[in-house]
Symmetry: C2
Subunit: 226 residues, 2 copies
């Protein structure tokens, strides 16, 4: 009962299929969301909780133990944080593919809580590589406890990095929702800033340039004034 127990005991799809095997490991409730929260940085128990509204300490502990047993997460004794292993980081493509499909499904409401990590990870879905390729813009996102600096790779993909203090050509400050609405919503950045949803520091034009490199999702009304 040290914490290393319960590996693949439960939820066993008794199949040779790699899909079944994968789902034996990451098919449990909350599992993929826990992985998402750790995708960009190691975190302490409480920090993970803050990104997963509704999860209880017991369930989170259980899921973390399972992920540790499966080799996706490590928890160095005495240091008190949790981090992904290479196996866990290998789930990035899965996360993005599932989220990409989720975007196509009706009922998606971006006004609900969006965790800082989630907001930054979804950049990988929204940013258009063709538009972003070659850009040397650096974005900063300050969502309170969690802050990120995002560079752009040569082929136009965002390279997020968790930092202590967000920095870049511009910095957007606000909750995850507001940041997402500002970057992916139909309204210009200046309008969102004027509305008080987010605070823009640095080069406001650069912020708008960045938003223009991202796909636009329609907001379910109430976001755009008549």
């Amino acid at each position: 009962m040290t914490s290393s127990e319960g590996g693949e005991r439960r939820l066993r799809y008794d199949e040779g299929c790699p899909l079944g095997h994968a789902l034996n490991i990451i098919g449990d409730r909350w599992a993929l969301l826990v992985v998402r929260e750790l995708m960009l940085s190691a975190k302490r128990f409480q920090a993970i909780r803050e990104g997963l509204p509704g999860i209880t300490p017991g369930v989170l502990k259980g899921r973390l133990d399972q992920l540790i047993d499966a080799g996706l997460v490590i928890h160095p004794p005495g240091l008190g944080y949790y981090a992904l292993t290479p196996s866990g980081r290998g789930l990035r493509g899965v996360l993005l593919e599932v989220a990409r499909w989720g975007l196509t499904q009706p009922g998606h409401d971006p006004r609900k809580f969006i965790s800082p990590t989630s907001a930054v990870v979804s950049l990988n879905l929204m940013m258009d590589p063709d538009l972003a390729a070659g850009s040397s813009l650096v974005a900063g996102f300050d969502m309170g406890r969690e802050q990120f600096t995002v560079h752009i790779s040569r082929d136009g993909r965002p390279l997020p990095e968790a930092v202590d203090a967000a920095d870049g050509d511009f910095v957007l400050r606000g909750p995850g929702n507001a940041i997402v609405m500002t970057m992916y919503g139909p309204l210009p950045v200046a309008h969102m800033a004027a509305g008080g949803a987010v605070e823009v520091a640095g080069d406001a034009a650069a912020a708008q340039q960045w938003a223009d490199m991202c796909a636009t999702v329609p907001m379910p009304a109430a976001a755009s004034p008549g």
Copy 2:
């Protein structure tokens, strides 16, 4: 209680994140495996069950109802079969991405049951597009009740099709496991056929050519003779 109930009532991750939204729809136990079974053809209740060892009628019915409510599956009244909608077929990439990751995880045992559909879907993971591109080979897989003919696209991807009677340059007959072991295992096709695991009809050399276009997974001992 017609069958249209229970949409997103349960398992609600109350998030705006597209990942959470997706998992609200396909995060339930068995859900993705049910989708997999329908990926290549419409099926009747009992046929779906045969591809999901361990599922009980009640659970399968519940999952199908949920998928119907979510718009991923249709069940034309009176006809008695279930089929994917375009939304459901859109999960193909998710299935493959998850399975691809599953292949990298230790503990994967291809000797366990592999459903016919699963065996053919995994062709998308194992076939090397560079090796297969330009090939005009057509494979047939006869796994009893379920049979498939597989062409190869110009860019080297397999194009499976469920058929009544498998046909092609060669036809492999046997259970899913044996077919998978023959195609992706380290041993030559002729050896597997001699061992009685599978039966090869048609051009045996073509069958070996096909196997050579696929990646090889190591079998967990007992498959390769000392």
